[in-house]
């Protein structure tokens, strides 16, 4: 079946511009995660969605970052007024969404963001 898809695969933008990154999770997965991966930093948790519950935004690095998930499926990560330090690979993952257990997360291929 189809895995997690992300678009665009690459994005080059100028400092100060806003960008939107999209994630389509695996059908039927109610949990969705966003991570940022940069050199020397590893996978950094950004935000978690579970069904209709309030998202866990504890990993968002600043108020320039926001995310939404419409209809419990597609998610969009928005970065406003991009800075050069925002350059990284942004990875989305989804899982079945069983509470209280550690689940296998299925990752998309990522969006490579470069802020000039």
């Amino acid at each position: 079946g189809a895995g997690v898809s992300q678009s665009p695969s690459n994005k080059v933008t100028e400092k100060g511009k806003d960008v939107e990154l999209r994630c389509d999770p695996i059908s039927g997965h109610t949990a969705l995660y966003w991570y940022r991966q940069s050199l020397g930093q590893g996978l950094e948790f950004l935000i978690y969605f579970q069904g209709n519950s309030a998202p866990d935004k504890s990993g968002l690095p600043s108020d320039r970052f926001s995310a939404e998930r419409t209809g419990g499926s597609v998610s969009t990560l928005t970065i406003q007024r991009t800075q050069q330090e925002d350059s990284a690979v942004y990875l989305c993952a989804s899982s079945l969404g069983g509470r209280g257990v550690v689940e296998t997360q299925y990752f998309g291929p990522g969006t490579r963001l470069l802020v000039l």
Partner: protein
């Protein structure tokens, strides 16, 4: 101190060698440990999953957890060029908002040379 410490490498070995990849973690409350493999320009994929201490074997791969020393290991026997990837250790736990949050190590880049 990061919750999960991992040497980023790179680690270069000849084909057929036994590879040992290691991580340490700082919070003893965690019980779930995972290894993800990430090929270049791809997302990570789950390789192995262990609960608590002990060993788990899957083909050429063995995952080992030593909770007394807070040490996680992945062994690859008869390594192949196709094993060349970045290996991320991860731990689950630290219940947050009703789910088990996963924390990843930085990843060790492995190259198996033919």
């Amino acid at each position: 101190q990061k919750e999960v410490e991992q040497d980023p490498g790179p680690l270069s070995v000849p084909e057929g060698a036994i590879v040992s990849l290691n991580c340490t973690y700082s919070n003893s409350a965690f019980q779930y440990f995972m290894w993800y493999r990430q090929y270049s320009r791809k997302g990570p994929e789950l390789l192995m999953y262990t609960y608590s201490s002990g060993n788990k074997e899957d083909g050429r791969f063995t995952a080992q957890v030593d909770k007394s020393s807070k040490y996680i290991s992945l062994f690859i026997r008869d390594s192949q060029p196709s094993d060349s990837a970045t290996y991320l250790c991860a731990k689950g736990g630290g219940n947050s908002g009703g789910y088990q949050k996963v924390t990843f190590g930085i990843g060790t880049k492995l190259q198996v040379i033919p």
